[in-house]
């Protein structure tokens, strides 16, 4: 890890109308590190991810990025169905003024990484959910970004495919030495793939540490989230 963080999130506040979504969230992410942003649904994880990649502006605070090359893996893959797999990836290369041959070389290379080079000219609609997710991975890394963001990468996938996707995340993170943020609430994803986790609740960070510390933590928020218990400060669920 280098001394200087690739990404700094400083005191982010965001509200939609009267509803406060984020209240003073701050953390740093370093090259080669994979940070897990975890928490229950509606705690502001995805909003924070959108602020980090510039899709939303914060009401207060700032995001400092050492690199403008960002790859984002969307929860629903977000592939453009009117384009082939190749052209979905080519879109991300648009500003680099490459020849078609150069584009094809890069695209094939990235598709090989996710074992989808045979589907280069297929329509995304013909791919399975797992293949679409892997195509989304290839698109996110086509420019060798220094920051990779994953929004719920394993949600909706079966356990086997989740493991496959998690393995890709680990491999890609090492290959690119990128600073990665994984938004998830899947136990296996944050325990297997991340170096450090940040637990959010109602727009605030309530705990942070390594996944191993998280599993053993006696912090009531972390304990409830890690064990999936009904009783706790996040929600006392009754049937």
């Amino acid at each position: 890890m280098t001394a200087e963080p690739v990404l700094q999130v400083k005191n982010i506040h965001k509200a939609f109308g009267d509803r406060k979504i984020l209240e003073g969230v701050s953390f740093d992410v370093y090259a080669g590190e994979m940070l897990g942003l975890i928490g229950p649904s509606g705690c502001g994880k995805s909003t924070l991810l959108k602020i980090i990649c510039g899709l939303l502006a914060p009401d207060q605070g700032e995001v400092i990025r050492r690199s403008d090359d960002i790859g984002l893996v969307f929860q629903g893959s977000a592939l453009l169905n009117s384009l082939s797999v190749r052209n979905n990836l080519a879109l991300a290369l648009d500003g680099r003024n490459l020849t078609k041959k150069e584009e094809d070389k890069i695209i094939r290379e990235k598709l090989e990484l996710v074992e989808l080079s045979d589907f280069m000219y297929a329509s995304p609609t013909r791919l399975s959910g797992g293949q679409q997710k892997r195509t989304s991975f290839a698109r996110a890394i086509v420019n060798d970004p220094k920051i990779i963001l994953y929004d719920e990468p394993t949600t909706g996938l079966d356990p086997v495919m989740s493991t496959v996707i998690e393995d890709y995340m680990i491999v890609l993170s090492h290959q690119l030495s990128a600073a990665s943020i994984v938004v998830t609430h899947q136990f296996s994803t944050w325990t297997r793939t991340t170096n450090r986790v940040v637990l959010m609740f109602e727009g605030k960070i309530v705990w942070q540490g390594t996944p191993e510390e998280g599993v053993k933590s006696d912090n009531p928020f972390m304990q409830q989230f890690a064990t999936g218990s009904r009783e706790g400060p996040m929600l006392t669920a009754k049937i």
Binding site: G54, L55, I70, Q75, L79, L80, L91, D94
Partner: protein
């Protein structure tokens, strides 16, 4: 557990509803204006994806040929029948061609093509773009630093500017054929006499107004449906709402602007 309480009905005054609707309308007009400004900016700098524009031309134009053709043909048949009947009563059979063609060139051609394309294409564009918003495809474009306006709106508008005037001409042509057929069968006016009457009546200005209306229709259809599509969020239900909104706004705007153009170009002075 207590029984659920009935929801309290809140009275909303008609004035409040009118104010809300006006605000929604003004917001949409602002979005349309912004989209028009940005799109024409790209087009003037010739930053146009011609391959995608061709694909859109096929989707908007070629796929509308049958439905526009059938509508124009039957509108032409019905209108010619009415006109022929009245003119025969007054002994003005030879004017049938002129009157039918005037109606076709000035009003029926652009309106028929405009309304049909608004229904078929405007709704599909609004639904497609709303779905892209909901499934984060637009966000994906922004993250890849691809401007959704350049990528999605510019090719559609470029295509529409070419194919909608062409569809209007096609509608006008089919209406004219319907007129010739009715004039011959219902009023015994030979095709030569019909076309003679057309030549004597129609002026170059009529064609200019015809194309002006077609271009306005293309602009209205593309920008209202794209503005609604690109500014809708939510779920599956919102796709339906956006589609309906797009059709309502484009249809109303087509008829209002058609009247405005007619009143500016043909009103008695």
């Amino acid at each position: 557990m207590t029984a659920s309480q009935p929801k309290e009905k809140r009275f909303v005054s008609p004035l409040q509803i009118a104010e809300d609707q006006m605000l929604i309308g003004l917001t949409l007009l602002g979005q349309v204006g912004y989209l028009f400004w940005r799109t024409t900016g790209y087009m003037l700098r010739l930053q146009i994806d011609w391959a995608e524009s061709t694909r859109q031309g096929y989707m908007i134009g070629v796929k509308s040929l049958v439905v526009v053709g059938i509508t124009a043909l039957f509108t032409g048949l019905a209108m010619s029948l009415q006109i022929s009947r009245e003119l025969v009563t007054f002994g003005a059979d030879t004017a049938i061609g002129g009157v039918v063609s005037l109606a076709l060139v000035r009003e029926i051609g652009p309106i028929t093509a405009g309304v049909i394309v608004a229904g078929r294409v405007g709704s599909s564009i609004a639904a497609e773009l709303t779905t892209m918003m909901i499934t984060e495809q637009i966000d994906a474009l922004k993250v890849m630093r691809v401007d959704p306006i350049k990528f999605l709106v510019v090719p559609r508008y470029t295509a529409a500017l070419i194919v909608i005037p062409t569809l209007s001409t096609y509608a006008m042509f089919l209406g004219l054929i319907a007129g010739i057929f009715i004039a011959k069968t219902a009023a015994n006016v030979p095709p030569e006499a019909f076309l003679d009457s057309v030549r004597q009546t129609i002026l170059d200005r009529d064609f200019a107004v015809h194309y002006l209306k077609s271009i306005i229709n293309a602009t209205v259809i593309i920008f209202f449906s794209c503005a609604i599509g690109l500014n809708t969020r939510g779920g599956a239900e919102d796709v339906g709402i956006a589609t309906t909104r797009a059709i309502v706004w484009t249809m109303i705007s087509i008829f209002i602007l058609n009247f405005v153009v007619t009143s500016l170009t043909y009103a008695p002075r």
